[in-house]
Structures are given as structure tokens and as C-alpha cells.
Amino acid sequence: MAMKALDIYKLLPKTNCKKCGFPTCLAFAMKLASGKVDVDLCPDLDEQTRELLGGATRPPIRLVGIGAGERSFAVGEEFVLYRHERTFYHQPGLMMQVADTWPGERIERIMTRVRDETFHRVGEDLSVDGIAFRCESGDADQFGGVVGMVEACASLPEVVIADDPEAQAAALAHCGNFQPLIHAACADTVEAMCDLARKYGCALAVRAGDLEELKRLVGLCRDRGIENLMLDPAPATLRDFLVRSVEIRRRAVERTDPDLGYPVVFDTVPIDLPDAATALGILKYAGVIIIDELAPSSTMAALTLRQNIYTDPQKPIQVTPGLYPVNAPTGSAPVLMTVNFSLTYFTLLGYLEAAGIPCYLFIVDTEGMSVLTAVAGGKLTETVVADAIKKTDLENRVDHRILIIPGYAAPLSGKIEEETGWEVRVGPRDAAEIGEYLETGWEA
């Protein structure tokens, strides 16, 4: 179970000696409770307390790194089941597969795509994270050859998928030094796979459809000194993955089952519902998602979903108030007022860009409330609008005095006119109608 700061405090020496780097034991306890520091910083704990506090305050899911170099990433160190409880920290890596039986051009095409294809969205470059090599030939030399070929032209994080330790060894001879994920050890191969993981110092996935068997495999690996582990719950359907992954995450974050405190790998390929499986992996706790060759339309949507889900939910749903030019407006362009609720802003902006009409989006501060709520709650008033006009120097930015307000703010139109001296026009309630509204003559 996770512990509260006060319960942790009770177990500390209470000498406030500051050796941990915090001014008091209580301050240290609070940091521990939030999972932000390691218990080892306090040198004055007996072994038993150290272990107890460590178990209760270390991240319940181990951080596991994959790949070397620029594109490398780490997964795990998560704390919650639902992002609204805190946030999700380490987004899953999407690994596009190539099989060693495929023609060279196909492998090369995928490799090039993964290496070069990026989408730019709100200040971030989004791309598929790496390559997953799948041994389908059953031939160690052939598998090794394909890995060697890709290795020669791209330095990408990798997953090596082969049940046969010999095929693994052949692949790792080419890429083992770049921290690929070895996928996957099962009951028969756990020893040989552990040897390989130790030799190259890379992470190892264990695979079993049954959680008790997964735990047993984890135990075997740990007995052999292998701690950088991931769990593949071997789902045959979307529901298998959902149920197993949720159970693994639940037991891990509740700290009832430390043997399940590892990130999950989701091999979506056998399920044959590429979009659904990828989305489900993103939503439900996968750390590594092995995908088939998805078209750019799919990867773009998947990466956008990942970006959304891994956004910190504490971040306010607001945009900065101000005057935003859309489609290069001049001084005679219409001014459309709205609130600083992000969704309203983004939606309206989308329609305005689509309509291609030059205009100004005039965002007033309603503390992130939607038009409806802001009007009802008194956050959107004539004074708020008048202040915003002054702050943005609106009178000198445009050469007219006409303000278009949202349909839902219609009850305020008279008051805004009085307070600001601007002429108020009531626009549509639905953002989808804004283009037509502007085209059919807002000046009339």
C-alpha cells in the first residue's frame, strides 16, 4: 500500500539532522509520499524501516529504458490507474515490426519511414519510436542478417522478437549493444534469455497469458539477477489485453503485487485490429506497443491520441487571453470575441481557418470557462470585455468598432455596447456556422 506523509514521518528518526538534504524529517516524508525522492537519502534508518519505506514509496512500476542514443526512451514509473488521479508520465513506445521473411525493399521502406516520418503538432515532433524485428523464418542466420542490415542504416530503438534463444543471440550480435528489448522469455527459455539479457545489459520481456505464471517468470529472472523486465500478458483479443493490463496496473500501483511492478508490452500484431489495438495500448497502460505497418493516417491519429492521453491533466484548460490574427487580417477585418476555454478556442480556430476568412479572434479572460458557463457564472461581463479591449489596444488594431460576440452571449449584447461604445453583433451559437455567418455579411 502507498503511505501517507504522516505515517512515513512516524517511522523516520525525527532528528531533523538535514543529512537527506531536506530541512526536516517531515519535509522529507512529504517528498517520499509523493514518490519524488528515494528513501536511501536518509542514512539513519535501520534495515527493516528502509525496506518498508522503500517498498511503499518507490515508484510502483520500474522504469525500463529501451534503445541508445537520441531516440531512446524509458517507460514505467507510473503511479495511477486513471490520469485524472495524477498524470501518466512515460508514454508508450510504438515499435513498427518487420519480419525476417519479408523482401528487403519492404523492410527498408518501413525502416526509412520509422527513421524519417514525423508529424508536428503543438510544439512537438511526433513519430513512431522504433523497429521490432520478428523472427518468422526460424533461421538464426537469416534473422541476424536482417537485423544487421537495418542496424547498418538506422540507429533506432529496437525490439527483438524471437522465441528461440539462438535466433535472439544472432540478432543481438548486431544490435545488443544498443539496448534493444529482448522479447520474450517463457518457461522453457527463461534461463537462456536471462543470459543474453545479462550479456548485453538490455531489458527482457517475459510472456505468459496467466498472471501467476508471469509472476513466476519474473521471480526466475530476478533470481538470476535480471531486474530490467517487462511483462507481455500474451493477449489473443482486445479484451484479454484490457483485462490483464488493467489487473497488472492495479496490483502494481496498489503495491499488492510487487512482482507485477513492471511496464507492459503489447504485441498487437496477432490481434489483427491494428487501430483498435494501438489505441487500447495507449489508453490502457502499455509501455511498448508492437504494431504492424500502419498507414500514416493511422500513426498520425495514434500519436495524437498518445500526446493527448499523456498530457498533464492538472494543466488548466485555458488559452492566453489576447488578440489572435487568423488568415492574415488587415485593419478592416472582423473581430470575433470569445472566451479563453481551450476547447472553444481550438474549435473556433479550426472553423475560421477552414473558412479562410481573415479575422481577429479576440479572447477574453473567463478563467477558462465556456461561453455558457461564463455568462451564467458572471465571468463574462461587459466590464471583462471593456478591460480586454483596453489591454489588447483593440481600438488601434482595427479601423472599425464592430464586435461579434458568441450566440450564447447574446443576453450581454446591450450591456457590452453601453460599456464599450462598440457596436455589438450576435454571432452564431454553433462554431460550425461561423464561416457562413462571416461570408453572408457580418457588416450588414
Binding site: L305, L343, Y351
Partner: protein, 325 residues
Amino acid sequence: MSEEHNPEQGNRILEVSLGATTAEGGTRERVYTVGGAGTFPFLGAGPAAGHPPRIALEICDDTRTWSPIVLREVGDLAGDTGAWAAAAETTFGADMVRLFFTSTRQRGFDDFASLGTTMEEVIGATKYPLIVEGSTEPGIDSEVYRRIGEAAEGERILLGTAEADRYRSVAASALAYGHALVAQTPIDINLAKQLNILLHETGLPPERIVIDPYTGTLGYGFEYSYSVMERIRSVALQGDADLARPMISSAIDSLNVKEVREADPETADEVAIRWEFYAAFSALVAGAEIVCVRHPGTVALLREALPALQEGSHPQEEAYGDESA
């Protein structure tokens, strides 16, 4: 502690019935019950799993603001609301049609008689329960909802949309003509609760309300909607009866975002479908009982994915299940 593992408490999402058969005073060949789940989506077994979610295809009576990608895809159907509605059920495989009376959103709309005619046409052309969206202009709400409600009397349609400052006309129509209602609040759990309480005061029974926490588009605030749905489901399962209602989700602006609009015409359909699919599928995982999309191709993808999420050896049957008496 996680929030959903409280099977002892046995809290369930309220069941809402949509559509009415001839025996019940309507003309539907199928009726649906949504809700009923006692766990987070797709995790429960047996009765706690609740009723299967439903996929709606959105259509409209005036296509001026509809996505050109969809209009290209459906071709002539766009000019014939009845035929479009029929195709949604038969050709495109949707569980239900969601008809938007977009005509009422044009400035100066006054052709109220057309609403009844179109409504009757769509009722005649379809066999499954219907969702119908009226005006967004308070000045005409009362007339619009009266006409729609009356024309669909007895069919137990899901009528939308009630909002905090304008719910009386919709609620009055739902009450007078025996329909269910969509109650929308902008991604805020407390506002959702308040609106349900307001609606309760109108006399509309809770088992006739589906809540719409508002769905932002993928890449444009979708995460807020995803989490508000998870939170609503979570507090509902903890026993908050005002929020233990089925949810409807529609990322209605999906096809207007830059990524879709500016897509290469060659791949525009694929992009549009994916943009809708990733949001709708995620909404299902977060707890939506009804998801709505506009591109027929998205219905097909969802149709394919749903059985794989559902329990049992005959998920296909369950997904398409006919629950009429």
C-alpha cells in the same frame, strides 16, 4: 486505491431504453437498452457487464455545414434525408441514426412544417431507435422541439440537446411525447450533476436521460473529455446516483480539424476515418454507451473492433444483439 473495484457495493449505471416497438406504441423493429454496467467498460462479466454500447451515424437535413469528405462519400444520399437514414442502418451498419436538424441553425429559419415532414420520412425509412438533434437558438427552440417531438410521438427517440440555460423546450417535448433526452454539459463533472438535478425538477424521470459530457476532438482537447468520462463513471460506481447515467459521446468537430481538412485528397477518407475512430473508440473505453460518428467508414471500423472488446464466446451476437421483446 483504485476506484472501480467495488463489486460489493453493486452500484450500476441506470438503464435507459431507446425506441419503441409496435406493441409499445412505436414502429421500431429493434429497441435498445443502454447502461446497466457495474464496472469500468468491458471489464465486467455477466450482468455487471451492462448492455452493449451502440454506434450511431450522424446525418443532417441541411448539408451546408457538413464535412465535404462525408458528403463526397455518401453522394446523392445527402440530398435525401430518408434514404441517407435508411442506408445508415442497412448499408453502413450503424446501430442507430443521429439526425441533426441543421436547417434550424440557418439565420431566420421559419420552415417549421418541414421538420415534421422530415421527421416522419426518417421514421418511415428506419427500423432502429433514433437520436434527433434540434435547434440551438432559444427563440425557436420551443416550436422546433414541439414539431419534432410530436412527429415522433411514441417512438421514444433520444432527443437533444438540453443545456444548463436552455433545457425547458427539449424537456417539455420529451415529457409530452414520451422521448428520452440528451443532457449536455461542457466537460465538467459538477455541471453534469447540476443539470441532471435541474432536469429532475421538470418531472422527467432519470431513466430517460443520457448525459453528454461534451467530447473535444482528437488533438483538440480530447483528453479532457476522456478523463471527465472516466471520472463520471468512477463516481457513479462509487454511488453517486445523479451521475450513474449512460453517456453519449460525439467528437462532432473531428472532420473540421486541420489534420483532416488539409489531408491529401487521395487519403482524406482514411484520415477522416482514423480521426473519428481513435476518439470514438477511446470514448468507449472511457465509458461512453453511445458513440456517434459521421463517416460511414468509421462505423465499419468500430463495428469490427467492438466484438473483440466484449466478453463471451459469441461477442458478435452480443454486439448486434436485438433486444426487442
